[in-house]
Amino acid sequence: MSNQDIDQLVDQDYKYGFVTDIESDTLPPGLNEDVIREISKRKGEPEWLLEWRLEAYHKWLQMTPPDWAHLEYPAIDFQTMSYFSAPKNKDDAPKSLDEVDPALIETYNKLGIPLEEQKMLAGVAVDAVFDSVSVVTTFKEKLHEAGVVFCPLSEAVHSHPELVKEYLGSIVPQNDNYFAALNSAVFSDGSFVYIPKGVTCPMELSTYFRINQQNTGQFERTLIIAEDSSYVSYLEGCTAPQRDENQLHAAVVELVAMDDAEIKYSTVQNWFAGDDEGKGGIYNFVTKRGECRGDRSKISWTQLETGSAITWKYPSCVLKGADSVGEFYSVAVAGKKQQADTGTKMIHIGPRTRSTIISKGISTARGQNAYRGLVKVLPGATDARNFTQCDSLLIGDQCGAHTFPYVEAAEPSANLEHEATTSKVSDDQLFYLRTRGMSEEDALNMVVNGFCKDVFQKLPMEFAVEAEALLGITLEGAVG
């Protein structure tokens, strides 16, 4: 198969490219103190939160965008973006799905995630974020019985101010990095999850994000707190409509796990990747960090990244508690003219802490995929262990794969292993499968899914199916 054929094979138009017509209450473009005050006022926030936002804003002003990533993009003009948008009927928020704007429901239907069906899907609670404000939250009753709090962060600010005050910014400090500082200043909304001591969350928690407002930056902020001996699995999936101008997405996710607690955080990310020249795609600058604060706690990140023009994302674990465990399982796809610089950080602080990193990078068309990972073992993290496996798969010959592993071990008893491979989908493999009766597309899918298997099997069942389907959609196209 020629490279041109392969390019055609992996090329396809964005399946979810459409725009829902909903009147929005949007702030004019631009960022300054007044804008932040306005955001805080419209959200009815307490004074301390406004102060917190302003503090972050002033820190952000002193900072400069990171330039160390293997990414090329024009400087972002933060004054051309709007920092707040809400569906119009926010004040009389819907009590049930019946009250939700039908256009919204239609959007979810197009995305294949109708809430009507989702509601019936046993075991899945949906906190749907449409633009910046959460409009629908389901399954609250069942969660309430278990003592689990799962609500928009903006709501938790009022219902659980002491928790928000204590943990907000405690895992990802305001000035952690440029984009985290920006998020801290203007964050729109996101999920808040609190799992009390000894509680196993009775269902998988999931959130579907969606950008639907031209020129509107989205600044989700999620906070998950797992008390002693609790367990929660959180699923996050995104798609976005087709747009001409780049849209900035700078989310922050903070997780904290106490003694014997476990948090499983899974993401399927499918933001609009832009056209073949990368035009119009989402810029995705995300800070995700989990702190294993308690002994024997565990945090695992599992992600499938197929979208965005630019991905800058390093879900990390800070392993403070003794015997705590951090995991990172990732499949990142860069096609078209996408650029991905993604990986993880595992910071070993407590004794006998363990971490596992399995990263699978797939590059097609003119995509550039970089893995960047740090394994750091601080003094006192005796007998810390890390296993890193970092594999790259190239499809065609115009794409690139890059690996930047960093290791800093200050503890002589640490045991660190690193394996890395780079392979190409070979003509031999495709020909072999085609002689067995598989179409070119099916053959490619089979090879790629095999490559990703180690990661997909870490995803919750229903997500794994979705992930495989999404990967198939991402790689399919008109053949020949």
Partner: protein
């Protein structure tokens, strides 16, 4: 079944096949023998549709249709099977997954219903037994970490499952010890059928002692230099290719 006329093919501008003529009737087993570099493997690859080979002249008619127009998968659907000299590894893909996908892809295009998991398992167990393969094979990744002999057995297992009309077996005997050779050879023999043809490409006579061909052809420098019955293989074994070519 298969008619090859004046077939010329090249790879990277280098001519490999220089006018092959061959006719195979239903039910026949033909052996193609020849020294290294004579074009044996190229012939089977061209017939299976590998596109790094460019056909520059001639034609191939399979069951009345122009074979060279078909994509590799279309040839598979039409009943052509190629057993690879070097079966390819597909990391992360379980053998059973490939086998099931292959069987159902071919069945679909033959208008047969898809085999359910239970039906398929029953069928594959039966075939495993014939090939004296352990069921653990099904759960290993395709050809990954397989020994040379295991890979070849796995190829013949696939042939058994796909039940081709025309089997192209490329150096299926290479890398096999005596016991495996016997299993593979008998596996091929079981497939012999008045409606099925086999093209055996091999360097040595040893597989032919088990799978007795109806015809033997000597390929050298891209052309069939000599054709005959089984005794030709025996002569080759005695005299070597040089002896034949000189004659």
């Amino acid at each position: 079944m298969l008619v090859i006329r004046n077939l010329h093919a090249r790879v990277d501008d280098k001519p490999i096949l220089k006018g092959i003529n061959l006719e195979i009737q239903a039910g026949e087993v033909h052996a193609i023998m020849g020294p290294n570099g004579s074009g044996k493997s190229t012939l089977s690859s061209v017939l299976a549709g590998r596109d790094e080979y460019e056909v520059t002249d001639g034609e191939v008619i399979y069951q009345g249709q122009n074979l060279l127009e078909l994509e590799p998968e279309e040839r598979a659907w039409a009943g052509i099977f190629l057993s690879f000299q070097y079966p390819v590894e597909i990391p992360g893909v379980k053998n059973i997954y490939l086998l099931k996908a292959a069987v159902n892809a071919v069945r679909e295009h033959r208008g047969q219903p898809e085999l359910k998991a239970g039906e398929f398992l029953k069928l594959v167990r039966e075939k495993l037994k014939i090939m004296q393969m352990d069921e653990a094979f099904l759960h290993r990744n395709v050809n990954e970490g397989f020994s040379g002999g295991e890979k070849k057995r796995n190829e013949i297992l696939q042939m058994q499952l796909l039940e081709p009309t025309l089997a192209l077996l490329d150096e299926t005997d290479s890398g096999l010890d005596v016991d495996a050779l016997k299993i593979v050879g008998e596996g091929i023999n079981r497939m012999r059928d008045p409606s099925r043809s086999v093209l055996l490409v091999t360097h040595y006579q040893r597989l032919l002692d088990i799978v007795k061909p109806d015809y033997v052809h000597v390929l050298a420098d891209g052309e069939i230099k000599l054709s005959g019955d089984f005794t030709l293989a025996e002569r080759l074994e005695r005299e070597g290719y040089e002896g034949i070519e000189a004659a």
